[in-house]
């Protein structure tokens, strides 16, 4: 009877392995996205610098853009920050910030110190929007098309490789699709 207890560690371990195996199929940087090809979930949140300005999904429409989830408590966000700056300044990529579960003053300071690559920053202190989006951890970057539909999610740091191989082609295609869509009614 006592020997049965000795199997407990083994069983616990088997459970952990099954868990790992379940998660393994999700390539971490392309985590399954429940919201893929669905509109950005509804939200009503303040802007980081300007709490009075109310932001809604309507603010994420108009052109294809990146939505970058970041926080001052996230070491990797600091790593990717210079690259986001480069994208915003040199390539003029529209990037919207989603400041996730963070402190307003700390976040403002961060952007003052490291410069601000964002068009505007959604301040999501409670993490509500993050929860609805299914944010796994910061940093994450979403590709959103002109109609405000989520097309892709990248988990982890955005760098040269990710930009060149994934995000840039995707944005280019979306831009072209958008241009066609706009032209169509006229033609």
């Amino acid at each position: 009877m006592k020997r049965l207890f000795l199997f407990v560690p083994l069983l616990a371990f088997v459970a952990v392995v099954i868990l790992f195996n379940q998660n393994m199929d999700n390539d971490p940087s392309k985590l399954e996205l429940a919201r893929k090809d669905q509109p950005v979930p509804t939200f009503k949140l303040g802007e980081l610098y300007n709490p009075g300005r109310e932001l809604t999904p309507a603010d994420l429409k108009g052109e294809p853009m990146l939505l970058n989830v970041w926080a001052t408590w996230c070491p990797s966000c600091r790593v990717e920050h210079p690259y986001l700056l480069k994208l915003a300044k040199e390539y003029n990529v529209p990037i919207i910030g989603l400041n996730y579960k963070d402190d307003r003053d700390a976040a403002k300071k961060w952007l003052e110190t490291l410069q601000d690559p964002y068009r505007f920053v959604i301040f999501d202190q409670e993490g509500r929007l993050g929860l609805d989006l299914g944010v796994y951890g910061a940093p994450e970057t979403y590709v959103i098309d002109a109609a405000g539909v989520i097309r892709y999610r990248h988990v982890g740091v955005v760098n040269e490789k990710v930009w060149r191989e994934t995000l840039a082609p995707m944005l280019r295609n979306l831009k072209m699709a958008n241009a066609n869509a706009v032209e169509e009614p006229g033609s």
Binding site: K2, R3, L6, F7, P9, L10, F13, V14, V16, V17, L19, F20, N21, Q22, N23, M24, D25, N26, D27, P28, S29, L31, W73, P75, S76, R78, V79, P82, K86, K101, K109, E112, T113, L114, Q115, G127, L131, G134, V135, Y136, G137, V155, G156, E160
Partner: protein, 674 residues
């Protein structure tokens, strides 16, 4: 050519690993002494070939052979030679090769320093280590070969080493950490060998104890180095982030700490045998798990430089075989007979058991916190486990652990009189209570966490020092008496003081750090905690592979005298385009002054973060003490060769006797040398 040589040597090393894994163990099974004797030369040959492979990769780096894919990805001709050298383990493939080198090195060390062990045991231990080796080398050869080439179109120059890794701390951090991780494979191999042979006794614990202590000491240093590196290199003055990869190194440390304590009980009293074996399996399993978590990219983190599901699957398979196999063996073979060795509720055995329970709960706390995102995702829920959870749990567990430590230190094996245990308690209470109010009061505000932290640290200091005072009593004077205590006792004292020092550091720096983000033009200054930081000028400088903006910041005391001149720097690495901050730090035993550069603004002014960090050095100093204590304990007389010879004859005579041996020589936990 050199790379091919290395590749070939690695394959040879792999072949020796296969032989090592099967021949001696089969020999032990069928009782063939010749086959068992092959284990030592095979272990040596395996190590030699691993050295050749590692040297070949190092040579490829030093010679800028960018036709080797791994070199091209992690080096650059502009890199100074010492970073070319450390770049060998700057990426996934090379760090695995380092892992394999260290594993074969530990195997060879066991082969060399195991003269006192019965041949059967040597054969089994080395065989188990050979099996682990097979797994790792297969992993390298199949999924992560560092010797592959770009041919015929090889690049002219390399992509450069990640600038975060171009740093002294990162040259030594991984080898130390791996020495610890892989070192636990020895304890693991001893445990599995004992289970195989059905010989789970005090002798087993005695043999694996020094190996475990050394591995633990290396791991302690590795973790401390990692924390120190994060502090000065990541540029915002943090020292621990509960990042999955940090947790991955912390879990084996907690299990290993429990293990070195339970090994003491098993060695001295023959108790907790099954538990100790399980801990030995845990410590190494958690090391493997750590490797897995980093390599598979299953959890995202700053460290995840090699996220690749293919590799993750391989490591998962290996985990399944190594951990699953050993736990199965454990379930089938661990002794379940209740030990006949009795002890009372106030015995040292019980205190060590409580220590073990707290440490294992702490380990599980970290494990659960680290894996929670996976479980949550699996159940389609979103939860986030962050620093607040870990901080809360540890601010409960650590005080509990330390309070019990202070009392348990005065316990004896078998039984202790309550008066002896509780006698000094009022004194400790008074000293700790007074200091824990006075010190926070000196720093201005009295925070609850500061009071608790200082209280337990002083409690531990007081208990350890009083014990050392009592143990060093001697008719020939205190100094003589102290020198006559055994090295393992001195090691224990040092280790426990180290923990107290670390607790002081962690408490004070978390509670009393003062920081300000300011914007300064040349000539302007800012005041912080009684110091004036004056921004003098900013200059440009060229490093070997970067361009830096270097600021000169003078620190003045209240009289206006310059105490120190700091040079925080912002570097742009030319090849990768990465920007790194190098903080300017004025280190001190009781406080660090820390300046990091933010952004340059139009009018020559800069944003800067200035920080006053009290006692931050104590964090790592404590780690150094702990590791030093570990090394000291292993240098104890009873582990030295001469004594081992004597033991080996005694051992050979009663090798069939599975009973614990009461022994007369030095007692690590209790006192004077015989």
């Amino acid at each position: 050519m050199i790379a091919e040589l290395g590749h070939f040597a690695l394959i040879l090393s792999f072949c020796f690993a296969i032989l090592l894994a099967f021949v001696p163990i089969t020999g032990a099974w069928i009782g063939d002494r010749l086959w068992m004797r092959l284990s030592r030369p095979l272990a040596g040959a395996q190590f030699l070939m691993a050295i050749v492979a590692f040297a070949a990769l190092t040579a490829s780096f030093l010679r800028d052979d960018f036709s080797v894919r791994y070199v091209a990805g992690h080096s650059n001709s502009l890199l100074p030679w010492y970073y070319k050298f450390s770049a060998v383990w700057g990426g996934h493939e090379g760090s695995l090769l380092l892992w394999a080198l260290i594993l074969t090195g530990w195997t060879a060390a066991v082969a060399k320093f195991s003269k006192q062990l019965p041949l059967e045991m040597v054969a089994r231990v080395l065989g188990v280590m050979g099996m682990i080796s097979i797994g790792f080398m297969l992993f390298i050869l199949m999924t992560s070969n560092p010797f592959l080439r770009y041919l015929p179109n090889s690049p002219q120059d390399g992509a450069d080493l990640n600038p975060l890794l171009q740093d002294f701390g990162l040259i030594v951090h991984p080898p130390m950490l791996y020495m610890g991780y892989v070192g636990f494979s020895v304890a693991f191999a001893f445990a599995v060998a004992a289970l195989m042979g059905g010989r789970l006794d005090a002798a087993w614990a005695r043999w694996s104890r020094p190996w475990t202590t050394v591995a633990w000491a290396f791991l302690t240093l590795g973790i401390a180095l990692g924390s120190w590196w994060a502090y000065y290199e990541l540029g915002w003055g943090g020292w621990w982030f509960w990042d999955p990869v940090e947790n991955a190194s912390f879990m084996p440390w907690l299990a290993g700490t429990a293990l070195i304590h339970s090994l003491a009980a098993t060695e001295k009293r023959g108790v907790f045998k099954s538990w100790t074996v399980l801990l030995a399996i845990f410590a190494f399993s958690l090391s493997l798990l750590g490797t897995f978590l980093v390599r598979s990219g299953i959890l995202t983190s700053v460290h995840a430089f090699a996220a690749d599901p293919e590799r993750g699957r391989f490591v998962l398979m290996m985990l399944g075989v190594v951990i699953g196999g050993s736990l199965l063996l454990y379930a089938l073979r661990a002794p379940v007979v209740k030990s006949r060795i009795g002890f009372s509720e106030t015995s040292r055995e019980v205190f060590l058991l409580v220590n073990n329970i707290i440490l294992v709960v702490a380990m599980l706390t970290v494990l659960i916190g680290t894996l929670a995102p996976l479980v949550a995702e699996w159940m389609d829920k979103e939860i986030s486990v962050g620093a607040p959870y870990f901080n809360l749990m540890f601010s409960l567990l650590v005080p509990l652990l330390v309070i019990v430590m202070g009392v348990g230190m005065y316990s004896h094996w078998k039984d202790t009189k309550a008066a002896q245990l509780l006698g000094p308690v009022p004194m400790f209470l008074v000293i700790s209570a007074v200091t824990s109010v006075v010190i926070p009061w000196m720093y201005g505000e009295i925070h609850l966490m500061a009071v608790i932290g200082v209280f337990i640290a002083v409690w531990l200091f007081a208990a350890t020092l009083r014990d050392a005072w009592l143990k060093s009593a001697s008719s020939q004077g205190r100094m003589r008496g102290w020198l006559r205590t055994s090295r393992s006792y001195k090691g224990m004292v040092l280790g426990h003081l180290g923990l107290a020092v670390t607790i002081v550091g962690a408490t004070m720096v978390s509670q009393y750090t003062v920081e300000r983000d300011v914007r300064l033009a040349p000539g302007q200054s800012v005041e912080l905690s009684g110091f004036t930081f004056r921004f003098d000028e900013e200059t440009q400088r060229r490093g070997p592979n970067f361009i830096g903006d270097r600021a000169t910041v003078s620190i003045l005391d209240s009289d206006g005298d310059v105490l120190h001149v700091l040079h925080p720097e912002k570097r742009r690495y030319q090849v990768s385009g990465n920007i790194m901050t190098e903080a300017g730090i004025d280190p001190g035993l009781f406080r660090d002054l820390y300046v990091s550069l933010g952004e340059s603004l139009e009018d020559e002014s800069w944003t800067m973060r200035v920080q006053y960090k009290p006692f931050v050095r104590w964090l790592w100093l404590g780690g150094v003490f702990m590791a030093w204590g570990g090394f000291l304990a292993v240098a104890d007389r009873r582990y030295r060769i001469k004594l081992k010879r004597k033991l080996s004859t005694a051992e050979a005579m009663d090798s069939s006797d599975a009973q614990a041996q009461p022994r007369g020589d030095a007692d690590a936990l209790g006192g004077r040398q015989a």
